[in-house]
Symmetry: C2
């Protein structure tokens, strides 16, 4: 039984994580939140108290922390007695926070692949450049490190594994589709940290097809999907974290990631990218100042957390998994539908933050109860999916399936 959680980060996803940890503090114990700006932690804590989210009386504390500072992070882990760290800070922090966890012997969970500020779209598989280099050491030291345990990556990895285990004899294609049919009423905004969001799309698009990495340009390949609840939506082949682990773990099946974009998003993205404003490389201003354009775009765009009060509509994220069952072709679509307004009412965040923030709490609970406390580094599809899906059903992200037998909930209780 591991107990006591340290949450790294204090954005929209951290808000969800804090609320969900509070709702399950009988399992998780003390809750600590750390961010460079302690005031952001305090705001989240106030929101948790306002919603009376703590299931039972317990510790809920904020801390100022620069999580790039490994020694400071180790000291905070030790001071708080946290045995599980949920890292939902910027993706630039992963390797520092992971190191701090490995050195202090506590469990690590994140929701996105590590990134270095000056690099985008590195050589695939992306996990191989950073996290997986620590796998042997985790195994040796018995460290549980669960990588990419948000929704996508995360729950969609579990869906792929579930399809393989439960519904198909052989998987040939995994097509992950992420549609946000919600509306925030702003001219333009990203649902995640704009810096991380745009960095996903400014480089080359990697997919795993015919046993090798294929490259495309962003918005080069589009496809219309007709999904439950959100209906017909145009989605585009994109690079995304989960492709880089599923390529290894799905017995050679093709793995593609599709994200829905409206014409307005594509136009704004195209203008910004064409001018060079999405670049992660610094430019020199006439006055001599060196600035990363993407960071300025981020500063100009709305804080994703600020979208929550006005956000309406649904998200639909799931996996079309195709293969053979009893010698015949079969496709299942395993998915979740989330609602922006319901998310806001429950935890004060919009639906995208909700879908990203609930799963790492489920992962933490499975570590706390021992089911996922695997004492090694693992991507989500390397872990048993059923307890994860059952738990998500209970804590806010129900799973459904569509196949030749219709559309129905998925549960293994």
């Amino acid at each position: 039984m591991k107990k006591n959680v340290l949450i790294i980060g204090a954005g929209g996803v951290a808000q969800v994580v804090a609320h969900k940890c509070a709702q399950n503090n009988d399992v998780l114990g003390d809750i600590h939140i750390a961010s460079r700006t302690k005031a952001k932690c305090d705001k989240i804590i106030a929101s948790v108290h306002e919603k009376k989210a703590l299931k039972q009386p317990g510790v809920l504390e904020g801390h100022a922390l620069d999580a790039l500072d490994i020694e400071a992070t180790k000291a905070l882990i030790q001071k708080t007695g946290a045995e599980i760290v949920i890292n939902v800070g910027t993706a630039f922090l992963n390797m520092s926070v992971l190191r701090a966890c490995m050195d202090t012997g506590v469990a690590y969970i994140d929701t996105a692949i590590h990134e270095e500020p000056g690099k985008i779209c590195e050589t695939p598989p992306w996990y191989g450049n950073y996290e997986w280099k620590r796998a042997a050491e985790c195994e040796e030291k018995g460290i549980t490190a669960i990588l990419g345990a948000g929704f996508d990556p995360g729950v969609v990895n579990a869906y792929a594994k579930l399809a393989k285990d439960e519904y198909l004899d052989k998987v040939t294609d995994v097509d992950i589709v992420d549609i946000n049919a919600g509306s925030h009423g702003r001219y333009f905004a990203t649902n995640f940290d704009p810096e991380i969001n745009f960095r996903e799309f400014t480089g080359v698009v990697y997919s795993w097809q015919n046993g090798q990495w294929q490259t495309n340009k962003m918005f080069e390949i589009g496809k219309e999907y007709d999904l439950p609840v959100v209906g017909k939506r145009k989605a585009y082949l994109c690079g995304h974290d989960e492709v880089h682990s599923l390529a290894k773990n799905m017995d050679g099946a093709d793995v593609r990631f599709w994200m829905g974009f409206g014409d307005h998003y594509i136009n704004v993205f195209t203008v910004l990218k064409s001018i060079g404003l999405l670049s992660e490389q610094p430019v020199k201003l006439a006055e001599g100042q060196e600035v990363v354009p993407l960071k300025v775009v981020k500063a100009c765009l709305p804080d994703p957390a600020s979208l929550a009060p006005d956000y309406e509509g649904k998200t639909c994220i799931g996996d079309y998994v195709k293969g053979l069952k009893d010698g015949k072709e079969k496709t299942v679509f395993i998915y979740n539908v989330a609602d922006h307004k319901e998310a806001y009412e429950e935890v004060g965040s919009q639906g995208i933050s909700y879908t990203a923030g609930v799963p790492p709490v489920a992962a933490a609970m499975l570590i706390a109860t021992g089911e996922w406390d695997v004492k090694r580094m693992a991507n989500v599809e390397e872990l048993p999916p059923k307890p994860f899906i059952n738990l998500l059903n209970r804590i806010g992200l129900p799973t459904r399936i569509q196949d030749e037998n219709g559309d129905r909930p998925v549960s293994f209780d």
Copy 2:
């Protein structure tokens, strides 16, 4: 006879000014170029020598200067013996350079209204906020200061005055139309300093109508013009410098400025502006750095001077001046057509820089010969237009007119 010219600035317009001064150094004497970066002056000087532009052997020198430093500017004026300063640096420099000229007793020419970095679209008339406050002192000290002596403002002001003097008994409407039908082959670029260019359009649009200032939004009012050479083009009501002096000097006629924009420009502008990237006000990045977004956009966009080698096509800029002649309604269109490629071949700059850079040299020559050495501050329409138009005909910007008698050159030789 005033002699010896100091050019402030070393961008695309300064390049034209230097070449044209060189071509007329029998009238203008020594030529000095000053910029923060002396290497940019040296590059212009090399280009002048390469084209063998100096009419007769003479001084052509570059100097490092921060023209916001009034004492340094005064020292350079004295050291060089310049009696005419042509200020084609950024519009933020005007008041410093003008002060240096007033203190040293030399003539001043500029091509745009003074601007303060943190302010855009101030209360009209814009000249009243800065330059005109120095008019009495110029008069008292006998300083010749010619404001806005580029093409627009500048030549178009002379066209308005010419229409009033020569072709109409009473002027009711001055509609200045600026169409660049050229193509630079880049995704997006501005023809002038992007910072100054965008600052023209991010605020309210002022026009002078029915004896008062009228405000509109940018791109709110569009109109199709059918112009000589460039044909049918959509132009939009914009704020622009010349409206702010012509409103005073055209006996109460309506004064509007129209600039041609393609849909692509409008789309890019709208995206950048809507996101806040054209703001002149600093934003704070997540890391704490303070940055003016517009300066980052400037750094990302092509240097306007770099467009010249590939620029093709024509510009057409002129004045529709409407009024009464012999009791009947009459409209004249007085205009110039310039060619990007010809400009580049002659002086190494594109056509927009050419139309902006030739007129201040004509003004300098008219000061040198005494015709415009008026010993006071003046906007161009307050000076005799004929010698200016005659000189422009000779040095590269021929004037034509369209009216009920057809389309023909304008000359008073």
